[in-house]
Point group: D2
Chain length 337, copies 4
């Protein structure tokens, strides 16, 4: 269940409502955005308590949901969410292309790739300054220096930029430097990170964990929303299965299903799913056909020398060719690139 | 390795070659089709034996392969295989639509559905007379009577028909009644069934097992081919993962990969993968975008009363709507429906 | 639901009961053993039909079950099933050791291994004459000749023997030669094979499919039982997961659970699960501790030259050492070896 | 590769070595414990660089490893690691029993459970003050207050205590209150958390992620060790598979394998693996038989009212009965409880 409050509800009235819920043992969380305050409840209210609450002056509406996620559900919001980032719409009619290197390695590398990306209808330049690596001995990312380079390139080229945030202690810094935050697959259930990013004012890409069910994925979106950030972009990136020909198994059913279950935009990362570049064009097309609102693709100008994941990176010219093919496909689906 | 033989090779020369291979402990299998005889070898030959064999008069060519599947590989055949079934091409420029009920339940049911299918560009009418069911107490299919009904409807409507064969003892009967045989997911590694169907003259749809790797799937195709049937249509139908929102997880990476690895046509069954009808249109489009040569979709005129899998069956009118959408999509990919 | 019939029920009365069920659309199967006739029903009966049936003279008892498997459930039979094979009990107080080579390769090989096995408390000599192989080019087993060798060795050494049956056409021959039939993991849902083996008089080992749920596994046991063979020995052999360090992931929870859910004996095959010999002793002990009634272990006298699965075979002396360790463990659990 | 340094190596010499490695692009990490300084290298050194380094005065030994984990491998340390926590040995001859409630809910609850645990040979009282919950609306743990209660009970009963740490910002507080830190399955690849806990002086239990391979699990142990904490206790708790009868699939092969690959102690959590209490005794016995050094079991005095995971909690008397059975089993394996 969800309780939406009237806009002018004061802190005292809210505190009273929370007291009432707590005294009945109802787990809840207050989600406050610029325009709305909603209280999400763990479970449905008993009839008498429900009636009592509906009589409170601050209560606007009580919304019944049958799913464990509330704010992320279509029951809370029927129309699809379109997120506007400095004029670029994500989740709208246009399909958004996000591309760039796995890791930011140097100013020259990022600049060179960014120049190419501009020519291929790329709206958001990807790049990680903090890298979650399986080995403690591997390159861990450029950190703050990488963020600065990213911001510089953004200013030079006028593209939006996105980057991963892995640590609660880095959030402020990351939010200061980029347009869109990204929570990686390994952190999808790092709940304290979700809570803190939930307090950010900037949109966040939430990658699906490699062993997360669709419901768990939406529950993690719910964490972000319950703590105040409703600008969530879901990102399917493949799940772990027995198949070893690909790094993960891209699950496009999840894209189709999430479109039914939730109002949030969904993008697809075919690069991490495949772990090999030969099938990225096919998977990108399939993702769009399945209803994805965008793609997140790894591109590198010198894949053989990439500090990580070079095997799955497209060359800038390969991305360019793909973007042309995607344009035709998008058009046939009544969308554009 | 593969050894292709000259067309006029006699049985004696072949026997001699086999003797030579066996005496060196090289596992092999002779694949004879109307136009060609090829001997597939378990492993690469040692240099001296290779030279000896290359000198034999009957030997046309020795083909080196790096994959465990030989006849199914692109190394054996560079150009894609197009299977012609009474004038209908599978694996060609046109995308083939196969649709119909899960099980043949009665003459009236199949006739009614077939009439509708004709209107929706369906080229092959699906329907099973033999049903592999998890429970011994569930409806096991109409058997021979179902095959007869299927054939009758075929004659009335002039469509191709396909059906599942589950038992080596039924192969002859099934081949007499239908145009295309189907080997179900549960039988993908029923090797004796593969060997016997390998001797059939009619094309065969080979479904991927729910826990089969792509390589194992191609190895099962190899069984069919090694025993003489080169008209193999691969069918992706989802793999078993931890996700429970769908019956299986449709793996479209497999479609893209198989197109690189093999020359055989690939179709997709979104119905069994999803196990629910709401996402079948999205998955169908994604399959085509990923490069599939066709679709195998379950349709029922009264899903609520279907004897099996009603939940995943489209209504005839829903299939019709989908086929229109697919036409646009196919066109954008340079194909037609 | 299950209907048990009085022992002297004639074919006419049975036919009448079946008619009654069919006319109400109730799927069912008659399971007749030497001592009992039971009718398994797909679903629970409606009240009025239930009352009508309970009044029939031939009906002894109607047993309600909440699980889809009926005859395999504890609801049908509370006490555990002990299968007596020529004096050797499977499922009783004693833990049964089954061991031998993966494939029967020659008389000398099998004889040599059998001699060693006798010294290590092995009660059943394993060995396959028919081999399901991923590649059509690999050794497919010695077939009938292998069965004959197996039987010869049995006579020489007085051990029980077991072997795999893969094809409905081989059942009679196999049943003539061995004491216990085995249905392999790949054939766990080869329903026609299950039906035919269900008519055999000899016990059958039913391996769990690599992607079968515990419920599906018990449903396949149900097929065997519903067709008349109640001497089913379940065999856990690992399931397919993302982990690649082992060939499959041995699921000992299944052993513990099946002991609650079913009355049938359960054994464990650590060799196919692990696919490597180093952890077979540890897994064998864990299996016994989890409650398994026996073990099925691959042993080879020359693993490096084995025609299949040599990597996972123990040497005879390694099995001997293991059997000593197992004896202590069994004793601590109130059992013996 | 690993480089061990002489004990008296000064900061300057170390800095020089690091410089040398960095200038050759070799990723590395310095692991300093009270008694030893080791430098772990991402990859093997080239011959000339290796020779140069071997000549440095500070270098004691260069250890070659074939695994991506270095400090966690048997190559680094042949004898098994025994961790001494205030006199209690983990990884030694005695099997350690850790038990207690999933979450700390109140002083009364924890005290009552702790009293019972003392009677059952429990050496470590488990309990979480911080709870990672799938839903933002669920009970998130008592936080600091829970830690204080935990410490109080520890003083009253003289048991060791362990608790989960989820957030880098809580580490200091947690380390001040408990004897053993625990990193949960969801945080197994929260690398920044690993780095910070790597700086702690207290032992840490590292749970295997539900979709982590054994190698990835050991790589996470490597993170802890590379940052200075060599007191790592691995904990198998089940992996995510297609099977739904249990919450996860307990993978006891991992226990057997890790014993070969690593010198670190391994314990097993059957409670989270099973997600149901009926098979916990069987799984506990299987774990010990597979070679585990201890168990981590959930116990609750009022499971029906537990704030989380009540379904999988044993009653104190059930744990008592189990501990008696485990004693016999341990003895048969040459160990004690």
């Amino acid at each position: 269940m969800l309780i939406t409050l009237h806009q002018k509800t004061g802190p005292k009235e809210l505190a009273l409502l929370q007291c009432l819920l707590s005294s009945h043992g109802v787990g809840h969380c207050v989600s406050t955005t610029a325009t709305q305050t909603v209280v999400g409840l763990e479970s449905a209210l008993e009839k008498s308590l429900l009636e009592e609450i509906q009589c409170l002056a601050c209560v606007e509406r009580v919304i019944t949901t049958t799913t464990p996620y509330k704010l992320a559900s279509r029951a809370f919001k029927k129309e699809k969410t379109v997120i506007n980032v400095n004029g670029v719409e994500i989740g709208g009619q246009r399909i958004i292309l996000m591309a760039g290197p796995c890791a930011i390695e140097s100013r020259e590398q990022l600049r060179s790739i960014a120049q190419e990306m501009k020519k291929s209808k790329v709206g958001v330049l990807r790049g990680s300054a903090y890298k979650p690596r399986t080995s403690p001995y591997s390159f861990q990312g450029m950190g703050e220096e990488g963020l600065k380079i990213h911001q510089e390139i953004q200013k030079e080229h006028g593209m939006l930029i996105e980057t991963e945030v892995m640590d609660v202690r880095d959030i402020e810094l990351v939010e200061d430097h980029v347009d869109i935050l990204r929570i990686g697959a390994r952190n999808m259930q790092n709940f304290n990170l979700l809570k803190e990013v939930g307090k950010c004012k900037k949109p966040v890409i939430l990658k699906r964990g490699i062993s997360a069910t669709i419901e768990e994925w939406l529950m993690s979106a719910e964490y972000l929303m319950a703590h105040g950030n409703h600008q969530v972009i879901l990102c399917e990136r493949g799940i772990r299965t027995f198949e070893t020909a690909t790094r993960s198994t891209l699950d496009l059913s999840s894209v189709a299903l999430v479109k039914h279950l939730s109002h949030l935009p969904v993008i697809v990362d075919p690069s991490h799913a495949a772990g090999r570049k030969d099938i990225i064009p096919a998977l990108s097309k399939a993702a769009i056909a399945a209803g994805a609102d965008g793609l997140l693709i790894e591109v590198h100008n010198q894949p053989a020398h990439a500090k990580c994941d070079g095997k799955q990176a497209l060359l800038p010219e390969e991305l360019h060719a793909l973007s042309c093919e995607l344009e035709d496909l998008a058009r046939s689906m009544g969308r554009s690139l």
